[in-house]
């Protein structure tokens, strides 16, 4: 070891740096444990057989005799595959149509001059603050009395076919597209619809991805309105079905845990595959 003062103070700095990093890692691991623990616990519990206790002191996390019985039991008693199909159908339909209708609406708001443009835009912005629970009361009445789709799957699709946030995000994206591009199309005699679809939409793909991801996560996890509408088990989405399962398996923590795992896994897999897009999409909306 060198005893020169410069080296010694350098050494002290390295030690301090290492200690600081150690402290930061302790914080990170602690938060990670708190974040992941419920998932890990519910995962292991869903594979516990009757011989592995849910409650014991000290607690047992990992099953000694893992089994898929819980999953089989849940699949037998509830139409889980219908929950999946309904959730996938509802989510995908909304993701596609919401992006389409919102982009259509956003285009003139960003790129055309017409009477009432500002009024339309502020009207839309003003509705953004309205709590969804408020609109649920008249929407319920409409569902029962006018659209006659209470307890039908389309009831959880129609209200989400356009969204103020999507329109707002797409408007921002269109504003960034140079007018020269549009004018070139106009000189060629293309209709506004063709200009929108063939010239503008391809340019704003990243924003479309943002809108799609926000809508996807929101709809896959949507509960409040679907829980008001869907009552026949065959018509339920995963989230509503999971709550029905919780009722049907009231004293069966292992079965409920299996249901939780089945609901959460598709989203976590998706997230693992598309991490960057998810984070950018969900938090990117902020920059607006």
């Amino acid at each position: 070891m060198s005893s020169r003062p410069a080296a010694r103070s350098h050494q002290a700095a390295v030690i301090r740096k290492n200690l600081e990093n150690l402290f930061l890692y302790i914080v990170l691991v602690l938060v990670a444990v708190i974040t992941v623990f419920p998932f890990v616990w519910v995962f292991f519990t869903s594979f516990k057989g009757v011989t592995d206790p849910i409650y014991s002191v000290p607690p047992q996390l990992i099953p000694n005799a893992p089994t898929i019985d819980n999953y089989l039991r849940v699949w037998q008693q509830l139409p889980v595959w219908r929950f999946y199909i309904n959730s996938i159908f509802v989510t995908l339909t909304i993701v596609v149509l919401n992006a389409l209708f919102s982009s259509l609406a956003a285009y003139p708001l960003a790129k055309m001059r017409f009477r009432g443009r500002e009024a339309f835009f502020f009207l839309l912005l003003a509705t953004y603050i309205v709590p969804p629970v408020l609109t649920s009361i008249p929407s319920f009445v409409l569902a029962v009395k006018v659209f006659d789709y209470y307890d039908k799957i389309r009831s959880v699709i129609f209200p989400y076919l356009a969204g103020v946030l999507s329109i707002f995000l797409m408007r921002q994206a269109f504003k960034g597209v140079p007018d020269d591009l549009l004018d070139a199309g106009r000189i060629d005699g293309a209709s506004e619809l063709r200009i929108w679809w063939e010239i503008v939409m391809p340019v704003v793909r990243p924003s479309l991805a943002t809108v799609a991801i926000i809508t996807f996560v929101e709809q896959w996890n949507n509960f409040f309105w679907p829980s008001l509408m869907l009552h026949t088990r065959e018509h339920m989405t995963l989230q509503v079905g999971l709550v029905a399962l919780q009722g049907a398996f009231a004293n069966d923590a292992r079965g409920i845990a299996a249901g939780v795992v089945m609901t959460v896994v598709p989203m976590i897999v998706f997230f693992a595959l598309l991490q960057q897009q998810f984070v950018r999409g969900l938090t990117g909306a902020v920059k607006g």
Binding site: L24, L28, V31, A32, I34, T35, V36, P38, F39, W41, V42, Y55, V57, P58, P59, F101, S102, L104, A105, P108, M112, R113, F114, L124, T127, I129, V130, P131, V133, L134, T135, S136, I137, P138, S139, F140, V141, L142, V144, A162, V164, E192, W196, W220, N221, L242, V243, A253, I256, V260, T263, V264, M267, I268, F270, F271, Q275, V279, L282, V286
Partner: protein
């Protein structure tokens, strides 16, 4: 650009406007009307003037729900504090930091229903939380976490915080990464230590994100439903200990078929929401002005 009237822009707007008109604009007007009626959804609404509002003013459960909703707003400062701290930590260039960031984001995408049910199982009297606390010697006998009125709101608030932390952390992280490195260098030269530099540079630099998070997380807190619904099994907790404004609205509208009363609650919620977002933006904007 031509200035002559063209129907094209309106055609572009039509599909989205139709959806929003039917599912947002009409409902706002309808709620205003329903709030002055006695309405059970089955038979036509009957005009009763201000009766719903008068009843609400005398309804102790409604006042309790209001109080609970305001208590729930405590999640906002807590979330801002914790997620700014966490963002500062994950902004460090440590190995494996990307994995930690991704991990912290998982609750955000998992959905409050599934996660809430997992929490509910863990907090059961015969759940792993009691098992761990007893094994560690912190408890001598199991606590009925979910049956104890005093715990209902705090547990729901913890769940809300746990669900949102990763999301707000990412927002603040993006904000931190926009702060120029030179500012930190200058702070170090001026003799700031590592923590002081965050106080003097990071926090002021994050002001736009703090404004944004304060608004959206407090609006979300005012509208909390899923956490309460799951943790109390749809009942609102013993002695209404978990009943918030939105939960009470839901119960009045969809459990008791009191759509008129529920609409009056919705109007109160709307007014609170408007006041709150205006106040939030005002206060935080004034802060920015004072600085510049």
């Amino acid at each position: 650009m031509t200035s002559k009237f063209s129907i094209t822009p309106y055609l572009f707007l039509a599909p989205a406007l139709l959806v929003i008109a039917v599912f947002v604009l009409y409902p706002i007007l309808a709620v205003v009307y329903y709030s002055f009626t006695d309405y059970n959804i089955v038979t036509p609404p009957v005009w009763v003037g201000l009766r719903n509002y008068q009843q609400l003013a005398k309804d102790p459960i409604f006042w309790q729900a209001l109080k609970h909703s305001f208590i729930y707003l405590l999640v906002t400062p807590t979330l801002i504090f914790l997620s700014v701290l966490l963002a500062i930590v994950v902004n460090r260039k440590l190995s494996g930091i990307h994995a930690f960031r991704a991990l912290f984001f998982i609750p955000v995408i998992s959905g409050s229903i599934a996660v809430g049910i997992a929490w509910r199982l863990m907090l059961d009297t015969n759940g792993i939380i009691n098992g761990m606390l007893i094994a560690l010697g912190l408890l001598s006998e199991p606590i009925q976490w979910l049956a104890e009125p005093a715990y209902t709101l705090p547990i729901a608030m913890l769940l809300t915080i746990w669900l949102g932390l990763g999301y707000y952390m990412m927002i603040f992280l993006a904000g931190l990464q926009n702060i120029p490195e030179e500012l930190y260098d200058a702070a170090l030269i001026d003799g700031c230590n590592n923590w002081q530099k965050h106080w003097y540079i990071s926090i002021p630099g994050l002001r736009p994100q703090i404004t944004f998070v304060a608004v959206i997380s407090s609006l979300a807190a005012l509208q909390v439903f899923n956490e309460i619904f799951i943790l109390t099994g749809g009942l609102g907790g013993i002695l209404n200990s978990g009943v918030t404004v939105v939960f009470y609205l839901w119960r009045q509208a969809f459990r008791l078929q009191h759509a008129g009363m529920a609409s009056a609650i919705a109007m109160v919620l709307l007014v609170i929401t408007l006041l709150f977002s205006m106040m939030n933006i005002r206060i935080l904007e004034r802060g920015t002005e004072a600085e510049s």
